[in-house]
């Protein structure tokens, strides 16, 4: 039982981080990014490539992958999303438009990965030694991934909730119309939040590559899980994403070890439905945000 809990928490840490990124993109920038998981998998491949060809370990790899992911998100928002945002001021169809646009992006990124990396499962050996935690044997790479998730997640949480700059990001989700009154450039801030979300997706990808096998067509599973977590936690709610992410990690591990590994996805949905029936606006959601 303790083993399951610890393994679940460790997995949930990555989920929580990944979900925080999606909540930045969807909850704050109002872009429903269907290519989210593809960016994550792309980063996993990048970490693999850096490790296997240049011998750069994934921790250092983060320092290379994350800035690139940020730049990519920043660019994508400027090129693809900005026109949709401008158009939606009149039509109010940003959600549908962004789903269609990123659906296309999903296939572009996936296609590139299939061509470059093929469709086989990939993994690499990094810190694959067992460490004893409270009597449970856990791979060092998983523990490291968890520690990284905690550090990145806590830093982000602190910045978003305790600094003025972070508060401006939350402000555009709360009341975008009032944001200019306090000197916030909504467009620029939304773009920044989107890029930050891309960066979190990539950090999740690097972590997953450290302890799990992955392939080029796995992205959609992560998009879906992140979405489930975000909605469970309450749209745009960071604390919610954190708690729901950890919860999902534990439930998945419980089901995989005690019931059947094939039922984890089904369990994800059951949990999702359960939370939504019990609290329609998510664990930490507000009745009416605006």
């Amino acid at each position: 039982m303790i083993t399951t809990l610890i393994t679940g928490l460790v997995l949930g840490g990555t989920y929580a981080l990944v979900a925080m990124g999606l909540t930045l993109q969807y909850g704050i920038s109002r872009i429903m990014n269907l290519a989210y998981g593809e960016i994550l998998i792309f980063a996993a491949f990048a970490a693999f490539l850096l490790f296997s060809t240049l011998g750069i370990n994934p921790i250092l790899g983060l320092a290379i992958v994350l800035p690139l992911a940020f730049a990519f998100g920043y660019l994508i928002y400027g090129v693809m999303m900005q026109p949709l945002v401008a158009r939606s001021k009149k039509s109010g169809t940003l959600e549908v438009d962004s789903i269609l646009a990123t659906f296309g992006l999903l296939f572009v990124i996936q296609g590139v990965m299939l061509v470059v990396f093929g469709s086989n499962y990939t993994s690499y050996n990094f810190l694959n030694t067992g460490i004893n935690v409270l009597g449970t044997n856990i791979a060092a790479n998983r523990l490291l991934a968890f520690a990284l998730a905690v550090i990145i997640g806590a830093t982000l949480f602190y910045v978003l909730t305790r600094t003025r700059w972070g508060t401006t990001i939350r402000a555009i989700a709360v009341n975008p119309d009032a944001a200019p009154l306090v000197g916030i450039d909504v467009n620029r801030t939304a773009r920044f939040a989107f890029a930050l979300g891309t960066m979190l997706a990539a950090s999740g990808g690097v972590m997953i590559s450290m302890y799990q096998t992955f392939n080029a067509s796995m992205g959609v599973v992560f998009t879906m899980k992140a979405l489930v977590i975000v909605i469970m936690g309450g749209l745009g709610n960071l604390m919610g994403a954190l708690v729901a992410g950890l919860l999902l990690g534990i439930v998945e591990t419980l089901v995989a070890t005690h019931v059947d590994p094939g039922l984890t996805l089904a369990a994800t949905y059951l949990l999702f439905l359960g939370v939504l029936l019990w609290k329609p606006s998510g664990l930490f959601g507000k009745a009416a945000g605006r």
């Binding site: 003025r164 508060t167 401006t168 939350r170 402000a171 709360v174 009341n175 119309d177 009032a178 944001a179 200019p180 009154l181 306090v182 000197g183 916030i184 450039d185 909504v186 507000k286 945000g289 605006r290």
Partner: protein, 238 residues
């Protein structure tokens, strides 16, 4: 000096502002009185860059045009707006709303003093720093909106019907605070339908009817001007 010259504004075919001109000097308090639909909110929005004026319109601050400036740069120029409906960040706390108010760079140097001034003006906010603004009463939310605007260290503060929907006792309290704000040297451009209380703190006033300025006088003279009554009764006959 904040000056508006021949400002016109359209919503589709509807001419909401028709060649409006007015000015407000440093530290002056000016009220714009007009009935529903006269164009008062449109005027403040146009100055704040939130609505696009027609060609030929002019808005200048110290002689420099600010027309066409992006709305998020207007607070940086020293003009703050407390909009109709307050525009507070409901899901953020009082303290966070004030923190955001000091977001423009011009506000940073004096942030601590302003923060203290606002809690002095509205002691109720000091008691409720951590409360989510959407859970507050209308009067308290208006205090947050005014406090937030003051945090930006404005030279000119524009207020769109701050008394709307508030109990008389709260209105009195609010205008008492505005009077103290005025004494700190901030110019106030006030839009109101509450004639008597707004004239009581104003230096001058304009009458507005169907998108036009129809009169201008000192607050003293306006208090007894029959045209003031006229502006409200005749406002609908556009």
């Amino acid at each position: 000096m904040l000056e508006v010259t021949n400002l016109s504004l359209r919503y589709g075919r509807h001419l909401a502002l028709n060649q409006v001109s007015l000015r407000i000097a440093e530290g002056e308090t000016v009220v714009i009185l007009g009935a529903n639909g006269a164009g008062k909110s449109s005027l403040l929005k146009a100055i704040a860059g939130l609505a696009k004026a027609e060609a030929g319109s002019g808005v200048t601050l110290d002689g420099k045009s600010i027309l066409g400036t992006k709305p998020h740069l207007i607070p940086e120029a020293g003009i703050a707006l407390v909009p109709e409906g307050r525009g507070v960040f409901g899901d953020l706390t009082v303290e966070e709303n004030l923190l955001l108010g000091a977001n423009p760079k011009r506000a940073r140097a004096s942030e601590t003093e302003r923060h203290a001034l606002i809690f002095d003006l509205f002691p109720r906010l000091a008691e409720r720093k951590g409360q989510l603004v959407r859970t507050m009463s209308g009067g308290e939310q208006q205090m947050v909106a005014i406090g937030r605007a003051l945090m930006s260290h404005p030279r000119f503060l524009m207020l769109d019907e701050p008394s709307l929907g508030l109990a008389p006792i709260v209105v009195t309290e609010l205008f008492g605070a505005l009077k103290r704000v005025k004494e700190t040297g901030v110019g106030l451009l006030l839009v109101e339908q509450n004639v008597s209380i707004s004239l009581s703190i104003s230096d001058r006033g304009y009458l507005m009817e169907a998108g036009r300025i129809t009169g201008e006088n000192s607050a003293e003279a306006l208090k007894t001007d029959p045209a003031v009554q006229q502006a409200f009764l005749g406002g609908a006959a556009a």
